[in-house]
Symmetry: D3
Subunit: 251 residues, 6 copies
Amino acid sequence: MTTRADGRADDELRPISFTRGFTSHPAGSVLVEFGQTRVMCTASVTEGVPPWRRGSGLGWLTAEYSMLPAATHERSRRESVKGKIGGRTHEISRLIGRSLRACIDLGALGENTIALDCDVLQADGGTRTAAITGAYVALADAVTWMGAAGKLNDPQPLSCMIAAVSVGVVDGRVRLDLPYEEDSRAEVDMNVVATDAGTLVEVQGTGEGATFPRATLDKLLDIAEVGTAKLFEAQRAVLADPYPGVLPTAN
Amino acid sequence: MTTRADGRADDELRPISFTRGFTSHPAGSVLVEFGQTRVMCTASVTEGVPPWRRGSGLGWLTAEYSMLPAATHERSRRESVKGKIGGRTHEISRLIGRSLRACIDLGALGENTIALDCDVLQADGGTRTAAITGAYVALADAVTWMGAAGKLNDPQPLSCMIAAVSVGVVDGRVRLDLPYEEDSRAEVDMNVVATDAGTLVEVQGTGEGATFPRATLDKLLDIAEVGTAKLFEAQRAVLADPYPGVLPTAN
Amino acid sequence: MTTRADGRADDELRPISFTRGFTSHPAGSVLVEFGQTRVMCTASVTEGVPPWRRGSGLGWLTAEYSMLPAATHERSRRESVKGKIGGRTHEISRLIGRSLRACIDLGALGENTIALDCDVLQADGGTRTAAITGAYVALADAVTWMGAAGKLNDPQPLSCMIAAVSVGVVDGRVRLDLPYEEDSRAEVDMNVVATDAGTLVEVQGTGEGATFPRATLDKLLDIAEVGTAKLFEAQRAVLADPYPGVLPTAN
Amino acid sequence: MTTRADGRADDELRPISFTRGFTSHPAGSVLVEFGQTRVMCTASVTEGVPPWRRGSGLGWLTAEYSMLPAATHERSRRESVKGKIGGRTHEISRLIGRSLRACIDLGALGENTIALDCDVLQADGGTRTAAITGAYVALADAVTWMGAAGKLNDPQPLSCMIAAVSVGVVDGRVRLDLPYEEDSRAEVDMNVVATDAGTLVEVQGTGEGATFPRATLDKLLDIAEVGTAKLFEAQRAVLADPYPGVLPTAN
Amino acid sequence: MTTRADGRADDELRPISFTRGFTSHPAGSVLVEFGQTRVMCTASVTEGVPPWRRGSGLGWLTAEYSMLPAATHERSRRESVKGKIGGRTHEISRLIGRSLRACIDLGALGENTIALDCDVLQADGGTRTAAITGAYVALADAVTWMGAAGKLNDPQPLSCMIAAVSVGVVDGRVRLDLPYEEDSRAEVDMNVVATDAGTLVEVQGTGEGATFPRATLDKLLDIAEVGTAKLFEAQRAVLADPYPGVLPTAN
Amino acid sequence: MTTRADGRADDELRPISFTRGFTSHPAGSVLVEFGQTRVMCTASVTEGVPPWRRGSGLGWLTAEYSMLPAATHERSRRESVKGKIGGRTHEISRLIGRSLRACIDLGALGENTIALDCDVLQADGGTRTAAITGAYVALADAVTWMGAAGKLNDPQPLSCMIAAVSVGVVDGRVRLDLPYEEDSRAEVDMNVVATDAGTLVEVQGTGEGATFPRATLDKLLDIAEVGTAKLFEAQRAVLADPYPGVLPTAN
C-alpha cells in the first residue's frame, strides 16, 4: 500500500497549532501552523471604512496575504521591491477576504474596518488554507476586543466558524492537506472553505495539467469535510482560553 | 412559477454566437457573444517562450483579460492609466490561461508562444466564461494557422474542447448563464470550466454573503453540464467552417 | 503612372463607415472604419468634473486612446501590464481631447464630464485620425442623450463638426489617408484636424528622416481639405438617422 | 497701435543667448536662454544602442525633456516622485528627439548613442522650442567631441542646422516667440522646427479653444521663418568659437 | 532620581534573545528580540551576483528591511500595495547592507550572493539596530552553511562581529537602547554600528527638533560602547551552539 | 608631504560661492558651488500643509534632492523615467529636510509649506552637503519673502544658521570637503550638519569597506568644525546683501 512521505493516512491532517497573542499590537494575532507551514495572521481594527462605503453605517473586513521572501525553498523577490503585487498574491488576498466576510455581520461593526494580514513566515503547501483558518481565530479575538472597547452594535457578530483545507489527487490517490512535496506534483488541486454549520463558502478545484471527472470532485469534497471538522475542533479548543492580552475598556 | 427577466428557462443559455475572423492580424480572432456580453478573443502566435522556459523545447500559452472602460454600465477607469492591474483582472487572466492550457500539448508547439487576449467590449455578466469559450475557438484557429505555417511538431495538439459557463442561485433558484442583473444579486455564484470529454478543468464556487450546502453545489454542477454541452455543440458548429482567412504556407 | 497598392487615386479616401450604437451602455458608441483600420469610439457621461475644475459650473471633456494588443501586425505588449502609458498613447489621447474640445461649449454641460474612449480593434494606419472622426459621431450622440436627460444648459452645445485625416508624401507623391503600408515608408507625415466651417483645429506635420519645403506643406493641406470634406459628408449622412437606442427622459 | 508687454515688435525674438560648456562632464552642455526661459541642454555620448538596434552598425539619438519643480510660477510636482512621466513631458521629449534626428546621419556614429537632456531651469513660454534650439548647439559640440575621440565613421555627420520657435495669435495679432503671459492666452499656438536649408522638420499648430483659417497658418509660418533665420545666425555665431573644454584624443 | 518606565538603568539593554533556526529554508534564520522588538532575520544564499558585478569573481551581500503592517501600534499600509518602497525603508535597507559588508570578505564567496531579509514582526523602537545585530547571527550561520556546501574560497570570510544599538537623550538623560515610548520623544537619537574589534562601522546621530553639543555626542558614544559590548557577548554565546539544522555536504 | 590633487591643505574647503536670485519664480533661489559641485537650491512657498498636519496651525518644510542625468561623469538614468526614486535620493532628501527643520520654528509659518528643491547640475563630491548649505540661504530668502507677504506669525522664525560639510579619511589622512576623486576612494566618509551656535544637527559617518577607531571620529569632527565655521562666514557675507528680487507686499 502506498503511504505518504510523512507517514500520514490519506485523510489525515498535518499537526495543527494556533498561538494566540503571537504579537501584541493588533487586536488579534495568531501564529497558525499546518505542519511546516507557518503563517502569522493578525486582525487590526481601524476607525473608518473605504470611501465607497462611507455613510452606510456598515463596517468592512479586508485581507492581505503575503509571502516573506525567505519563506519558500528558493528565496522569492519582494513584491514591494518589484513595485507590484503579483497575480497569485492578489487572488489569495481576495479569497481570504471573501471567506471571512461570510461569517461576520458587517452591520454590527459600525463604520470600522477589520484588516486581516496573513504573512507567510514559512511555506510548505497549503498556505492559503492555513491563512484562512488562522485568520478566523485572529478575527474572533478582534471581535472580543471590539466588544470590550464598546465598538459593536451587536455583541456577537460572528454567525459561524470558518476553516479551510487543501485536498488533491496525488499518485492517483485522493489526499488531505497537501505539503509542498505533494502539492507540486498533484494532478488535481482543490481548496475548500467551509463553515462549522456544514455549509460551503468557497470551492476552487483545478486540474493541473489534467482534467478530472465529477466523481473525483465528490471524493475530494468528502475528504475535505473530514479535514475541516478536525480544524473546527482545534479552533474551538484554542478559543476556549481567555483573550490573550489586556482588553480595552469602553468609555 | 417564477420566470427570468429575459424569459429564459432556468437551465437555458442566452443566445450564443461566435464570429470567426473578427479581425485579421492575429492567427485566431473571434467575437464571442453570450447575450449582451461581447468579448473579442484573439490568439497571437509569437516566436520564443518566456525566459524560465527557454531551451526546454516546449511552447507556452498565456492569457490576458481586460475590460474596456465603457464596457460596464458605469464607465470604469482604465488599468493602464491607473498604472496597475487590479486583482479581479489578474485572477481572470490566470483562470483563462490555466483553462486553455488543459487542452493543448505544449510540446507540440516548439518554442513558440500563443498569447490569448480577451478584451470585453460589452459586459452583461459571465464575461470570464464567455472569454474562455471564445478563446477556445480562437485557439483552434491559431493551431490551424500554425499547422499551415509548419510550426507544429504534432499535427493535432488539441486533446479536447474547452467551454465554460456561469451558474448560480438567484431568488432561491439554480440558474444557468447569469446576466448582470441576476449575477449582481446571486446568493451563490459558480464558474465551471469543462471539457467535451465530460471532465472538469476548474470549478470555482462562492457564496456571496451567504454559504451553501453541498446539495446546492451538486445542482449547480448538474445545470452547468447542460450548459457546457450546448456550448460544445455551438463551438463544433462554427468550427466546421474553414479557416476564416488566408493561411500561411510553410517553407 | 504610379498607382497606389489598393488602387486608390492619390486624393481618395479609403471606404469610410460608421456604426452607431455599436455597444449599448455608453451614451455614444460608434465603430468607425477607415478601410481596415477599425476603432471603437465611446462617449460616456459621468457626473462631476476633475478637482481643478470643481465649482466652476463648467463641464469637461477628456479622451483616452488605446491599442488592443492584437490590433497591430505583431502583437504589442499591453500598457496596463507594463504599468505605464507609452509616449505615443499619451500624445494621441491628448490630441483627441484637444480636437474635440474645439467644437463644444463646455459651459453648456454643467459640471458633467464626457469621457471619450478610442480603442483600436484593428490598426492599418491613420488610427488617430479615424479615432477623432469617429469620436465626433459618438460625441454628437452623447450630446443628444444629455439633452434628453435634461443635463444641458444649452440645447445645442456643438458649434461645428470635427474630422481628421492623415496625409503624407509617399514615393514622392502627396497622398491622402495613408494605410500602414504607405505610412511606414512615408517621407513626410501630417495629421490635419479640421472643422466643417473650413477652419483648422490642429496641424501636425513631421518629416520622417527627411525635411520638407513649405510648398509640400501647402499641397498636403490642399489634399487634406479634400479628405475632410468627404468625412463631413459621411458624418452628416450617418447622423441623419435617429439616436440608436433608448433615450433617457429628464425628471 | 497694440504693443507687446515687453515692448517687442510682433516679429521680434526675445534676447537669445547660448552658454557653451555650461557644465563640464557631458560632451556637449549648453545653457540656452530665450528671454526669461532658461534650459540646460546636454548631449552625453554613451557606448551601445537600444536593444532593438543592436547589430545594425547604426547609432541612435534620444532626448528627454523635464521641468524642474520650481521652474514654473507655481511649483509643480516632481515626476520622479509621482512615479510617472506626464503626457506633456512625453510629447515634448519625443518632439526633441525627432527634430534633432532630422539633421544627423546616425550611420556615422557607429553603435553609440547620443542622449540629449533638456532640463528647464526657468520657464517663461517656449521651453520646447528653446530646448530644440539649444540642443542643436549641444549636439554640435558632442559631434566635435566624438570626432576628436575617433568615434565617427564620417567626419561631419550633421547635414544641416536645426532651430525652433513658437508663434501664435494673441490679441488678434500674429506674434513671434511667445512668453508665458502671451502663450497662456493665445488663440492659436504653433511650434515650428526648421532647418537652415529652408525646409521644415515639424509643424504643430493648435487652436486653443478656437479654430483658425488657413490664412492664419500661412502668416504664422511666415513669421516663424523670420524667427528661425535669426536663431540660425545666433547658433552660427556661438559655434564659431572653439570647443569649450578639453577634447579627448583618439587612440 | 529619574528612572525609566521599564525600570532599566540608563546604560542597560532590554532583554536580548536570539532564536537560531527560526525557519528552516534559508541558510541562516534568526529571530532577534530586543525587549518587545522582534525581527526575523534570514540569510539566503543564491548563485550569481548582480549584473554590474558579473565576471569579477567576487560575491555580493545585500539586505532588505521591511515592517509587517501590524508590527506597529497603528497598522501601517503595506509597501507592496502602495507600489513603492518608502524613504525610511530604503534608508534602513541600505544601512543594514553596508554594515554587514564591513565584516565579510566578499572575495571568499565566489560569485554568490547572500541576501539578508529583516522583517519586523513587532516594533518597539530600535528595529534597525536589532535587525543588524540579528542579521550578523544569520550571516554567521549562512557562512557555516556555505562552508559545508563547499562554496567558500576561504574557510573563514568573517573578519569580525557586527552589532548595533540605539542611544539617545530622553528627559535630558543619555540612555541606551530606546523603546518606542522613549524614542518617540527623544531630543537626540543615534544609531551606532560597531565591531567587536572596538572600531566603528557607522554612526548616525540626529537632533530631532533640537541640536546637540559635541559633549553629548561623546556621552552617546560611550554608552553605545557599553551596549555593543553586551551584544557581542550575547552573539558569541548563542553562536557557541552548533548550526541549528542539517548542513549540506559538498560534492 | 602628501598634498591633495587640487593643491588644498587637508583642512581647506574648495572655493565656495552662492548666487542668490539664480532664478526668479521661487521665493528663494540659490546656485551653490563647492568647487565643481553645483546645486540649484530653491525654496518655494505654497499654501497649505500635508493632510496629516492640517488643522494644527503649524507649517511644514520638506525637501527633495535630485541629480540631473548629465550631472555625473557617466550619464545616469532619470528617476522619473525609471518610475521610482532610488534609495540614495530618498535618503538625501530626508536628510536635507530634517537638517533644515532644525533651524526653523514651523509654528511661525502658519499653515504654509516651504518646499526645498535641490537639483544637482554638476556633481563632484559633496552634493548633499552643498545642497544643505545652499538650501539654508534659499530658505533665509524665502523667510524674508514670507515676512514681506505678511505670512509669518513671528518676524524671525530662524533660530540659527545651518551648514554641512563632508570629511573623510583619504590616503590615511583626515581631510575636509572631498571632491569625487577623493570621495570615491575614501576609507571613512562622514557628513556633518552643524549650526552656527556650535551644536550638531546630524552626524553620519561610515566606514567604506573599512571600520574606524573612535579617535578618527574625533579628528573628523574637529576638521568638520573648521569647515562649517568658514561656511557660516560665507553664508553671512552673501546674506548681508538685500533680497535679490522684488518683495511682495502684504495686504
